[in-house]
């Protein structure tokens, strides 16, 4: 079974009302653990590699570890997703490596530290959507920066994160921008996925008392 696009798995998940864990992978043992678990309970798999993973293992090792998982478990659909790509060049390299899905996180500039403008974000993400869809690869975008709503501090997620203090405007997804970007990107997906953070209303799953202080204010937006 070849790698499949994230879009295919997410469509199936949406149609059948379930969720999918996306596990970060860096080495052989993590990939074996995920695949053994998926094999035992007949689950599709999303594995994702961050900037930190590529730095640790190297692109070639990650590529071949995933290829080994696909070969060893031919009955399990596997997505290999790039987590928090900082620029179109990072994304195209991941696609060259065989990743079946990429994330273009244009909430930060290409240095993966400086909060960017909305216009910049829309522009680079549209570029990645165009080239990715041309080879059947799905794309995840990001509106709003990762960070803590409580402290306002930007937070690095494995090699990708804003430096310094951020305003709530920077940390949260603006629903109007979300709607606007949907009109401007060549977007494929119906808006079936809730925004995690919204200025209009608090997300159903957000709970300051129980959420990890590291990740209270993530603002992913699905494009696929």
């Amino acid at each position: 079974m070849a790698l499949v696009s994230l879009r295919q798995l997410l469509d199936h998940a949406a149609e059948n009302g379930y969720g999918l864990p996306a596990f970060n992978v860096n080495n052989l043992e993590q990939i074996q653990a995920i695949m053994q678990a998926a094999d035992e309970c007949n689950s599709p798999v999303i594995m994702q590699g961050s900037a930190g993973a590529r730095k640790y293992a190297g692109e070639a090792f990650l590529r071949h570890l995933i290829a080994a998982a696909v070969e060893a478990y031919p009955h399990i659909p596997i997505v290999m997703h790039q987590d928090h790509g900082a620029s179109p060049s990072v994304c195209i390299n991941a696609i060259r490596s065989g990743f079946s899905s990429v994330m273009m996180d244009g909430s930060l500039e290409a240095d993966a530290k400086t909060p960017s403008s909305y216009e910049y974000n829309v522009e680079v993400t549209a570029k990645v959507v165009e080239m990715s869809h041309a080879v059947g690869v799905s794309v995840e975008g990001e509106l709003g920066c990762l960070g803590s709503l409580e402290s306002g501090m930007g937070e690095a997620e494995d090699g990708h994160g804003a430096e310094g203090k951020l305003s709530h405007d920077q940390l949260l997804t603006d629903p109007e921008q979300a709607a606007d970007s949907w009109m401007r990107w060549p977007l494929p997906s119906a808006p079936r996925t809730v925004l995690i953070n919204s200025r209009a209303s608090p997300p159903a799953t957000y709970s300051p008392s129980s959420a990890s202080s590291r990740y209270t204010s993530a603002s992913p937006i699905p494009i696929w």
Binding site: V4, G19, P21, F23, P44, I46, A204
Partner: protein, 124 residues
């Protein structure tokens, strides 16, 4: 959902019991993620849980087997600990049992479908 590890307190306890230093920290409870799934959350990013399980298993193994120097031995424990976490999440999120129901679409075919506009948004 970004950063959606549940941070199992039992693994924090094991890490602490066998010499590790972990400050008080909490994740997103699995039940809250399940509530999110009911409202349309589909992709749940998990990294920390696997890190905690592997670290706890390795610390425990080495503490109990002080003469051990074969990495395969403690990595085997680490893999098993990570596997159990993954399996619990697959089952809790409802994706267990779904693999066999999916007929893979090759990326070339996805590209064609994107080009034809078959995958375009239907904004309601």
């Amino acid at each position: 959902m970004h950063g959606s590890s549940s941070v199992p307190q039992e693994w924090l306890d094991i890490i602490r019991e066998f010499g590790g230093e972990m400050k008080e920290t909490y994740g997103v409870p699995v039940e809250e993620i399940q509530e999110g799934i009911k409202h349309g959350v589909r992709k749940i990013n998990i990294d920390t849980d696997i890190r905690l399980a592997m670290t706890g298993a390795i610390r425990r193994h080495l503490a109990k087997n002080k003469s051990e120097f074969d990495p395969r031995k403690f990595l085997k424990d680490a893999t098993a600990a990570a596997r159990d976490i993954c399996k619990a999440r697959f089952e809790a999120f409802g994706c267990a049992g779904q693999a066999g129901k999916i007929k893979p679409i090759m990326l070339d075919n996805m590209a064609t479908r994107y080009a034809k506009g078959e995958l375009r948004a239907v904004i309601k």
